[in-house]
């Protein structure tokens, strides 16, 4: 019994370490087996924290696909609906709308940090700094095959600028 418990504890520790690695690396190596390992590299994924009563938030990340693919959808256990949104700023008028899909050309980093982002709609709970959110990205490759890639994105403060390299100190 003790042996079994110890074994479980070890497995739990290994799992915890793995999850921690995933969170810190923000990488799609964490994608479950069979979900096109290595097709998509996700870096710098994060979700904006919410205040009580807020039912939507944005997720931001950098995507790099090994081959031509398209991001066609997403889902998350924390939200009723997850959409790909495009934000445009024309003459200082911000427009935000849903897009059906986002092309991911091979070996090209596509930033979902300003013009595009993942929108979490109908949040089931408040997102607090220090927590993390699992988001499943749905991809369609050039052959029409579907792939699901899970990412674990840490929750960052509400006032975090979406573009990290923005010149905040000049």
């Amino acid at each position: 019994m003790t042996g079994l418990f110890a074994q479980h504890a070890t497995i739990a520790r290994v799992l915890a370490l793995f999850i921690a690695l995933c969170v810190f690396s923000g990488s799609a190596i964490c994608a479950p087996a069979g979900a096109a390992p290595g097709l998509l590299r996700v870096s710098d994924a994060w979700v904006r924290a919410t205040v009580e009563g807020q039912t939507g938030s944005g997720a931001f990340m950098q995507l790099r696909s090994r081959e031509d693919a398209r991001l066609v959808g997403a889902s998350s256990p924390v939200a009723e609906k997850v959409e790909i949104h495009e934000m445009r700023l024309v003459n200082d008028l911000m427009t935000m709308r849903r897009v059906e899909s986002l092309p991911l050309p091979a070996d090209t980093t596509v930033a979902l940090d300003h013009g595009y982002h993942i929108m979490l709609i109908g949040l089931k709970r408040q997102l607090l700094v220090g927590q993390s959110v699992t988001i499943t990205l749905q991809l369609l490759d050039a052959r029409g095959a579907k792939h699901a890639v899970d990412i674990v994105a840490p929750v960052r403060a509400l006032n975090t600028p979406s573009v990290r390299s923005s010149p905040s100190h000049e």
Binding site: V51, E52, T55, G56, E83, H114, H117, T160
Partner: protein, 211 residues
């Protein structure tokens, strides 16, 4: 003849050198309007609308459902922006910028009042604004109005907003600019979204100096 042309050449060379020097100087220190410092009236990073009819008095409800008028903030420079709490990017970035402006101003930061006017008063209840707006800075105030009031205030600031709900897809658009209102309630500057906190702070300092 040849003497005269050598003089002409010398003049041309001097002019060319002077042009290059001036161009270099402008590259290094910005356009001539910036050389005289910010105390010079009419020199703002943002668009100067001092001579135009922007904004004007308004009354909206605050986060405790109390009526607030622009005149309540006389003596302070007001930073006003339109937005909505479900805004994933532009609005939190703008409010974070306002908080940074207050920090950059040090003790003068208390002479700045940030106002966030929601264009989505249906979803943005007083309670939600109370949770959201002060989380960027405790002094910040969220304001909301009826549809008519929201229309009137956005129109006064030549701002646009539209919320459409097509097959359950809510699309929101709104003006992302910041309106800088002087200590007497006159809208003086329209600051584009992509201007930095430092530039906005400089403009606020200029208004605090000149009134």
């Amino acid at each position: 003849m040849s003497e005269r042309s050598s003089v002409q050449r010398a003049v041309a060379a001097t002019l060319a050198l002077a042009t290059v020097l001036l161009a270099t100087l402008m590259l290094i220190s910005g356009p001539p309007t910036r050389w005289f410092g910010l105390s010079h009236p009419g020199v703002f990073h943002g668009r100067d609308v001092s001579r135009e009819d922007w904004g004007g008095p308004f009354t909206l409800s605050d986060m405790s459902n109390q009526a607030r008028s622009l005149s309540d903030f006389r003596g302070k420079v007001v930073l006003l922006s339109f937005g909505y709490t479900h805004c994933p990017d532009v609005c939190p970035t703008t409010l974070a910028k306002f908080a940074e402006v207050r920090r950059l101003l040090g003790t003068d930061g208390d002479r700045v009042q940030a106002l966030f006017v929601t264009v989505d008063p249906v979803r943005d209840t007083a309670e939600l604004l109370r949770n959201y707006v002060p989380s960027f800075d405790p002094s910040f105030i969220g304001l909301r109005g009826t549809e008519e009031q929201t229309d009137a205030v956005t129109r006064a600031f030549h701002a646009n907003y539209q919320i459409s709900n097509y097959r359950g897809n809510i699309t929101v658009e709104h003006t992302a600019s910041t309106f800088v209102i002087d200590t007497n309630g006159k809208t003086r500057i329209v600051t584009p979204y992509d201007q930095s906190a430092r530039e906005l702070a400089d403009d606020v300092i200029a208004l605090l100096r000149t009134g």
